[in-house]
Symmetry: C2
Subunit: 331 residues, 2 copies
């Protein structure tokens, strides 16, 4: 009888995120019953949002993963056995498959994906990152040609798409990153107008240089000190889209936010959002994205880890910022 591996969350993060939080389990490959399909997962997405799902905090916006449960994640797979009328062997499918090599399901929440699309592109552009970028930028950022947009986590899976969409729309786009290599990539490969390295640059001076007319839209993916510097450069009627605050997920002492006076003086709008509130818009968001992809305006890079077990240490890359592009695991 053949087996497959699954990884369960057994401990909640406190300061660090690594293999110590997980346990690998060997399970027997099941047979699909009537109305079920068996999926072999091929690519598994790692996303910063997972930090929230794992945390103790019951105040989170998505149900946390319970201790002892298989870690939650979205992924792509191939149907290898089907007793379900809507799925055939060989179909490429997407869903919340979790950290496991095989998935037995009745098909609920499983969507077929065009086999001609490379799995990396599906996970990097048309799945969570691209949907998040599109909903945040157009739903709340209201970008207008000629304006200046700053995006943090700019070489990340969401930030890189936000910046490229805004650039294609005629905005001046500045990206905030944590390495010179990422700065080089977003400027020279993605066409951003400038990059700020938050670890080495004088943040205020660099923003003044790159955004001499102030900032109209800020797309916040990271948190950390950059927020204060951007905030005090926001123009009248500026929009701040708060999508991620990864710097604070594991912090024991959350940093205070900026003083609110500027919110009145500049009549700022600040909107927090998360994609799970907007799944019903998936088709519309993908339709909005598609022409940009077709015109070659959305480049991506996939940071592919190898093998299921690499996910356990892979998540730590979000905290160090060492991932290059959309993080995923090839199974």
């Amino acid at each position: 009888m053949s087996t497959y591996k699954a990884i369960k969350l057994v401990k909640r993060p406190a300061g660090s995120i690594g293999p110590e939080l997980f346990e690998v389990e060997e399970k027997t490959v099941p047979e699909p019953a009537e109305g079920e399909i068996l999926i072999r997962q091929t690519y598994m997405s790692l996303d910063p949002a997972m930090m929230g799902w794992m945390s103790e905090d019951t105040d989170s916006y998505i149900p946390r993963v319970e201790l002892g449960d298989v870690m939650r994640s979205s992924g792509i797979g191939e149907v290898i056995a089907s007793k379900h009328p809507d799925f055939n062997e060989g179909d490429q499918v997407m869903g919340l498959f979790g950290w496991q090599e095989m998935v037995l399901t009745d098909g609920t929440g499983v969507n077929k994906v065009d086999k001609s699309l490379p799995p990396e592109m599906v996970l990097a552009v048309f799945a969570l990152p691209g949907l998040t970028a599109t909903q945040g930028l157009y739903g709340y950022g209201h970008p207008r040609a000629g304006e200046t947009l700053v995006v943090s986590g700019a070489a990340g899976s969401v930030g890189s798409i936000v910046g490229q969409l805004a650039k294609a729309d005629g905005l001046r786009v500045i990206g905030v990153v944590g390495t010179d290599e990422k700065a080089d990539w977003i400027v020279n490969e993605l066409g951003f107008d400038g990059a700020v390295n938050y670890k080495t640059d004088d943040l205020g001076a660099k923003l003044d240089e790159l955004a001499p007319d102030g900032i109209d839209v800020y797309f916040e993916n990271t948190g950390g000190p950059i927020l204060d510097y951007v905030f005090e450069r926001m123009n009248a009627h500026g929009r701040i889209v708060v999508c991620g605050l990864i710097a604070d997920y594991t912090s024991e002492n959350p940093r205070p936010g900026p003083n609110w006076m500027r919110i009145i003086k500049k009549r700022l709008s600040i909107q927090g959002f998360t994609m799970p509130d907007h799944w019903d818009k998936t088709k519309d968001l993908q339709a909005k994205l598609t022409p940009y992809v077709q015109k070659g305006q959305i480049k991506y890079r996939a940071h592919v880890l190898d093998g299921l077990e690499s996910a356990m240490s892979g998540l730590g890359l979000f905290l160090t910022g060492d991932n290059k592009g959309k993080l995923m695991v090839k199974l």
Copy 2:
């Protein structure tokens, strides 16, 4: 030749706001030329926004009052001489008349006001306070029956109207005030569901008691520590309308804001606004207000100071919170 008095701003506030910032001038009453009117101002409005107009900060949203200029304010007056086809002697009019007993003008920005309306009601409800309350509450607060709204500065000119509108719309309304007398007024006269005295109550415990289901809308008029307590009780999809932060206008060390994590977790929307961006909506906002006034749902109280010169020390009441209702000067 008869004279009138005008008050000029001669110094910018630094810590305190009082007569030391102003100079009284005696001027000759002019004769209107062709196309002009002479107005005798009868009531002059004092508003917290004046703190911003007087301050050094050139970063403000409205042109500041220059040193040596007559202090800016809105008011009500009577036309006492007219060589203008649109105005007759005896008309009751409104406009940005400034701190002076007489105004000579070509009528630009001067609006006639129904003589049957008491000037106190015009300044307290249909002018800046009511317009601000209406624009903020309906433009950004999106109140829904059954929700809980907290408003700071709740006995103030804007806050008292915000709370009464929300109450009339079926919300649970909690007001934040600084004296027991104000707490008594908003609960027993205006019908609020509860009051928090930010000077004497245990803020967290009191909010927990009065808003057991959390807070859906926060209308911020004051700034100060109450913001942190309200912020951490905001419900999912909560709206925060930032209308005034008077506690910070004269502060040398602006207090930090709350950590932003809750903005994502609860998908909050935070919107700063000031009425000058919305003057073009004046008629619509007054139309929205009118039925509430006609049904007797909007009570107000006017805190009337006596004589032009009382304005100089009157502004200080905003800082101490000693004004009771809409502050104005009877000339």
